[in-house]
């Protein structure tokens, strides 16, 4: 099998898997900090039980995030050696800064949060909870800086066959960094709050620990409301950046082949042979309207995009990659076909991921309304309907799927480039790693990761079932 495809499959699998835990951890980090702060203020035993429970739940997902994150950093050296050689001057710095400035903060204070109760003051515990969340959010920033640079590189020049840093802030705050950071972190917060809502609903429905359940619904809905509203401007900003900086990607997202104003589809299926989309069209020029506020604004279609990319491939391969007197890409791949990469992003999957993400946002809004209905009932001291509570169990599925789908849009839409307009995916692999090695590690990843996920779910559901320690709550004191 093709080395490029295997390497990409492995990265896609390990990154998508890692990306299940990042939103869970970073999102829950906020909930943990809020619950700990609540206890710090009230000093009530029932609030302590809630804070303790969250730390316990947080631990098991956090360990998974850390462990699967090492894979990602290593993979640039193991599976993408030529990529590492090409971007090392720029891309390595945010990774190192992430570890140095963010990850140490997060992991050190996590140790305090997990095992420090009774050893350090509650003030220190509360500070530690916030520092864990701050550290993990800061860590997102550095990673998204690195990722954004691959999408919309800035602050660099190509010298001696590699990208060289010319402007630190130009690279760090490249055109898509801010939009990507706000869009992603906001989605992550929705994920955390929806998990809290689901866990709250479980406890209310089973009447296990109603104080705990109420707290989760009350805090979760408020956090979610803010995040869901903020998502509108943030996603608009993200879309505008794509439209301006990566029009070739925008064309794939809407399955638009001809140049002209970009249409807007609710759902559809791209007919690649006939270059049309069959589906429900919301509005002619709708995407142009959303991106630029002008439904007649013209953008390029996939046919022009393909020509642009083909031309750019010829340019970058005509000598920019010279290293040690040999063409960089000549060492790559074993079959001739891999030298001729595709000239557009895979249209269908980019289109579907994008529309799935948007549809899932609709579900998120709907489930948030459900959560508010429950909130209204319990605030009046009434019982929420069992069916509604059961529906809320599924709440976290929508944000996590939307997050994964959104990431698919970003990365599939970037094809065939690994660094937009500068380095091709196929030229970025490790020449020293052949298909058998990739297959061995892929099998290992599948086995180990499947096992870990199974055990994680078992333990997570057990901890949810157990719930926090039972504490006598005096009626009327529940705020």
């Amino acid at each position: 099998m093709d080395v490029e495809i295997l390497a990409r499959l492995q990265f896609a699998f390990t990154a998508a898997y890692h990306f299940l835990f990042v939103p869970t951890n970073v999102g829950l980090g906020l909930i943990v900090a809020l619950m700990q702060t609540r206890y710090y203020k009230t000093r009530k035993p029932e609030d302590l039980a809630v804070a303790k429970w969250w730390v316990k739940f947080f631990t098991i997902t956090f360990a998974m995030g850390v462990a699967t994150g090492i894979t990602m950093e290593f993979s640039f050296g193991t599976n993408w050696a030529n990529y590492a050689r090409f971007v090392g001057d720029i891309f390595g710095a945010p990774l190192a800064a992430e570890a140095l400035l963010a990850f140490f903060m997060e992991s050190t204070f996590l140790g305090v949060l997990l095992l420090g109760r009774g050893k350090v003051s509650e003030k220190f515990m509360t500070a530690a909870a916030w520092l864990v969340w701050a550290g993990s959010t800061f860590s997102c920033l550095w990673i998204l800086i690195a990722n954004s640079w691959m999408q919309t590189p800035g602050g660099y020049a190509i010298e001696g066959g590699k990208a060289v840093l010319t402007d630190f802030f130009g690279a760090a705050f490249n055109p898509s960094t801010l939009a990507r950071f706000t869009h992603t972190v906001d989605a992550i917060i929705i994920m955390g709050s929806f998990l809290a809502i689901a866990i709250g609903a479980y406890n209310l429905r089973n009447k296990k620990n109603e104080y705990f359940g109420k707290r989760q619904i009350q805090v979760g809905t408020i956090v979610a409301l803010v995040a869901v509203i903020l998502m509108l401007p943030f996603s608009h900003m993200q879309a505008t950046v794509v439209a301006d900086e990566q029009p070739e990607k925008l064309a794939a997202m809407e399955g638009q082949y001809e140049d002209g104003p970009a249409d807007l589809y609710l759902f559809g299926w791209v007919d690649e042979a006939n270059q049309t989309v069959n589906g429900i069209k919301l509005m002619d020029g709708g995407t142009s309207l959303l991106a630029w506020g002008d439904p007649t604004k013209e953008t390029i279609g996939l046919n022009t995009a393909s020509k642009n990319i083909e031309q750019r491939i010829a340019e970058v391969r005509s000598g920019e990659y010279l290293r040690n007197g040999e063409q960089f890409y000549q060492t790559v791949g074993s079959n001739e076909e891999s030298y001729a990469p595709a000239t557009t992003a895979p249209v269908q999957i980019t289109f579907q991921s994008y529309h799935l993400m948007v549809a899932l946002y609709g579900c998120i809004v709907l489930w948030l309304i459900f959560a508010f209905i429950v909130r209204g009932k319990i605030n009046k001291g009434q019982e929420a309907s069992s069916g509604l509570l059961k529906a809320l169990y599924f709440a976290p599925l929508f944000p996590i799927l939307a997050i994964e789908a959104g990431w698919f849009v970003a990365e599939f839409g970037r094809q065939p480039w690994i660094v937009w307009n500068e380095l091709l995916m196929v030229d970025a692999i490790s020449p020293a790693v052949d298909a058998p090695q990739l297959i061995i590690t892929m099998v290992l990843f599948l086995a180990v990761y499947a096992l870990l996920l199974f055990i994680l779910f078992k333990n997570a559901f057990r901890i949810i079932k157990e719930g926090p320690e039972q504490v006598e709550v005096i009626e009327g004191e529940v705020a």
């Binding site: 998974m64 050296g77 390595g92 570890a99 992991s107 060289v164 590690t441």
Partner: protein, 355 residues
Amino acid sequence: MLTLWNVIWFILIFVVITGYFILDGFDLGVGALYPFLGKDEVKKATLRRAIGPTWDGNEVWLLTGGGALFAAFAPAYATTFSGYYIAIMLVLFCLIVRAVSLETRGHDPERAKFWDALFFLGSALPALLFGVAVGDTMMGIPMDAQGNMALAFPISFVFLLRPFALLCGLVGLMQFLLLGACWIAVKTEGELHDKAAALRPKFALAEIVLFVLASILWFIGMGIDPQAGPMGAVFGIAATPSLTIVSAIFAVVALAGMALTFLWATKGEADLKVFIVAAVICLGLCFTAAFGMFPNWVPDSLMANPVTVAEAASEDFTLIWMFGITIVGLPILLFYHFLCYRAFAGKITEADLEY
């Protein structure tokens, strides 16, 4: 051309590696000793608790090292990580299962044996493989003009198990076991403390023997052309002996540290004092390796295309920015470590344990 910033970063990378080997070194050591010292549930829980609050922060030193190597010397990072592919992946899987087993063991008593086994394996195997990787890099690997491992799999993997590299692996394993035993002695009391304390001189002595053997093999290997037939491929070392003197000085530091650890551990000096001397050995070992390779990052055993420090280095502009980030970040992270270690200072008591 070699610049001052290249040299500064070459040294800084080894400072981070030293930090990692000391801090995660004792974690790995505790994990490798776990089945031998953790004879009952209380002892097992005590051992896990001995590294419980700090192992995660310690492991970040590895991520920092990887990130820093990527940022400062990307070609060296690319060559070693893709060249040692299967070995690196083994370490990775070990670290994953170690992390997950440590955090899950306490919540999942039904599968205690399974998690214990993974914790041991996930600690012991990397403890051995880190040294092997250092040994192989010191010897050099065959590379093409782009710096890619020239051997095809599976020979590329078997090739890494050369005698000198394996000896380096054993030296590393012994060092991590020593650090683990020293740390257990610091953190525990009673039977567990006494057993761990009694192991320290034994590990120190074994490490001295292994280190001397490795040194002998190193000097023999330097006289053998790596390209001279199978003998050359197995024993030959492609070193450029420009800073062998500096390397030798650090070797003496390492040996002195081992000897002092042996003496102090035998005499029953304060446990923390013994741990600190044992930690100094890491510094000696890492810089013996660093200056044994300099000015190469990864020597080429075909002698044609070594990845040199100067060639592999990022531009000074990047290195200066990174240095600035380090100057800001390092004191802060040392402060975090200080806070965390202070919060959990002292011996572990029954009250700290959750099984």
